[in-house]
Amino acid sequence: MRGSTRVKQKMENFTTKEIRDVARKLLREKRVEVVIGFERGSLPLRRRPCFVRREEDADRLVWDGWCDNNLATYLPKRKEKAAIVAKGCDSRAVVELIKEKQVPRDQVLVIGVPCRGMLDRAQVEASVDRARMAQEGECPDFEETLRGKGFVHDCCKTCAHPNPVLYDVLVGELCPEKTQDAFADIEAFSAMKPEERWAYLSKEVEKCIRCYGCRNACPLCYCPECFVDASLPQWIGKSVDASDAMIFHLMRAYHLAGRCVACGACERACPVGVDIGKLNRMLLKEVKDLFGYEAGLGLDEKSPLATFRLDDPESFIVNP
């Protein structure tokens, strides 16, 4: 990966074949009713969620560097037993959903796939010749090698858990784990003056069109009624008024504190490029620093904001 990123579209690659085999077997043996995975999308460089219920449809499933949706978002409220293709971050979301009693453990079968980072379409589109890229739609062997670094999403660059943390079946080879999250961006942000931080966030939130793409793509945003949708009483205004949009983003970030698995689904869903990750990663770091906790790493770990210990830090109360 280092030095160059291969934009490889060989559909018949090994992991894809293994995923299809596993899906076929699970459906044949009736161990699950549906396999949630990825299929080719309708545009070059796009993959998208797909739901396979029949053995013969398993060949729709694919795996490569474009499978960036977090499929765990399809698990809550699902009545049928489902198998889910899960990267590191997807599996962490599954763990949180199980812990939060949104998904019974025996209702989900995790097909874990180690992830080497998902490619950032915007960056690649800017670097690949359009005419060449269009071939990707027709030619299954399209291959293009991009020179340079950093074609993966930002959240993948800082990801410390590329391997699935929970799986029933493992497909592919485990990746080397990194020791810890890199929070250089958040440290730089924290070093800014409060008014500078506020100015930055205000400028970001100004772009928001309140489409709730971030919220709906998020596997952990599953509230039956989101506070922004409440009408009796109505908590916040419905328009793109700066303070209303800011309240939405701040509240959403707080609701995800100690729960966010840093999958970046919110940022990828955002059509206007709001830096949502800044708030989420800020809280990720706070929770890690204060409680030594990262969401979604183990079924037995208690969520810090759902429990208490006598030695919990209280500096924020006594020393505001």
Partner: protein, 372 residues
């Protein structure tokens, strides 16, 4: 001079392919006027426009291109595919004050903002989006005319920029428009490297051609323009099948197909908010103490709250019903009530949908004769 915009154009019933200028003649009843705009004369033209009018044009905002009001010609980006958001917000803002109120000493004052203010120019928008304005015109002028929209609309000149190189997600041709269609525009510009061919199709457009920046057209440029148009159309994806789609959709209302189609839908509002023709809104009061304002804000049929009733009952309880509503409204209800499809094929919902739920595939899978 007050010029009326034709509001009930006859749209081409097929899949485009009309000769350049031909289709236009039919929708506004005026023969096209062609002139040449050399690219080095463009900043001068924009400067004169900015001085007199509010000019909205594609510009970089953050990391994306949006149609926003410009202060200077240097901000305008015309080398672009399409703006991230549709230009509808210029005429139909996401948040708009309908009136302000204040109660004082037993007296209530109501202040209604009137008039459109300065004349506007929508400059450099794409033909699909210009055509989308025609649907908004029908909605906001049909039956009960909406003064907030119409005041702005009547004082707006639409100058669109033809697409020589459409995106893989574009399908305007399948929806009855075209990459170089002038429907919905007053003036259409077609890029010919060092110059644009400017085609005025309304009186407003013709009035703009009076500016000193425009020169007489020549046969050679017009031929080149025609060639460019044909190339652009030929480069587009094959048209989506949609024979008898309106009737077919009506029949399919209770079909189980909707559950499968909507299975991956996340239920966000990206498709509707970026769409150039989606126009649903909500009315809210925002007050503080004794004063406040009544506003209208965009709303989306994809949100549960859109149909939530006071009793607590929701007639569209899941993503399936909400997704069906979006498709039915665009492809069945609007063709019947407004004689126009509620989709112009800009492809924003195709590219921006977080799960790539592609309306073109939905159309194909719902069309008669296709396997389901």
């Amino acid at each position: 001079m007050m010029i009326k915009i034709p509001l009930t154009p006859t749209l081409s019933p097929g899949f485009g392919g009309e000769g350049w200028g031909e289709g236009v003649k039919r929708w506004c009843g005026l023969p096209s006027i062609f002139k040449i705009l050399k690219k080095d004369r463009l900043p001068g033209l924009l400067e004169r426009l900015v001085r007199e009018k509010q000019v909205f044009a594609p510009m970089i905002k953050g990391e994306v291109i949006l149609i926003r009001e410009i202060d200077s010609p240097s901000q305008v980006i015309l080398e672009y595919r399409n703006a991230k958001e549709s230009p509808k917000s210029v005429l139909f803002p996401q948040r708009e004050t309908l009136f302000r109120y204040r109660a004082e000493k037993g007296k209530t004052e109501v202040d209604v903002p009137t008039g459109a203010g300065k004349a506007r120019v929508l400059f450099g928008i794409r033909p699909c989006d210009a055509r989308g304005l025609l649907l908004l015109d029908k909605v906001f002028s049909g039956g009960c005319s909406d003064p907030y929209y119409m005041d702005k609309r009547n004082s707006t000149v639409v100058v669109s920029l033809a697409c020589a190189d459409p995106n893989p997600s574009c399908f305007c041709l399948s929806m009855g428009g075209g990459p170089c269609s002038a429907e919905g525009s007053d003036l259409l510009l077609l890029d010919l490297e060092d110059r644009y061919i400017a085609e005025a199709v309304t009186e407003k457009g013709a009035a703009l051609l009076e500016d000193q920046a425009f020169e007489a057209s020549d046969e050679k440029s017009l031929c080149l323009g025609e060639k460019t148009r044909k190339q652009a159309e030929a480069s587009m994806q094959p048209a989506a099948k949609k024979e008898n789609l309106e009737e077919e959709l009506e029949r399919l209302f209770n079909d189980p197909v909707w559950k499968d189609l909507a299975e991956s839908c996340l239920g966000c509002g990206i498709c509707t908010y970026l769409c150039p023709t989606c126009h649903c809104f909500d009315l809210c009061d925002e007050s503080s103490g004794q004063a406040g304002e009544r506003i209208r804000v965009w709303d989306s049929c994809q949100f549960p709250l859109f149909t939530q009733q006071a009793s607590g009952f929701n007639p569209r309880p899941t993503a399936k019903e909400r997704f069906r509503q979006r498709i039915m409204h665009k492809l069945s209800y609007l063709p019947k009530t407004q004689s126009m499809t509620g989709c112009v094929g800009c492809g924003r919902c195709v590219t921006e949908c977080p799960v790539n739920l592609d309306i073109r595939e939905v159309i194909v899978s719902l069309s008669k004769g296709n396997e389901r």
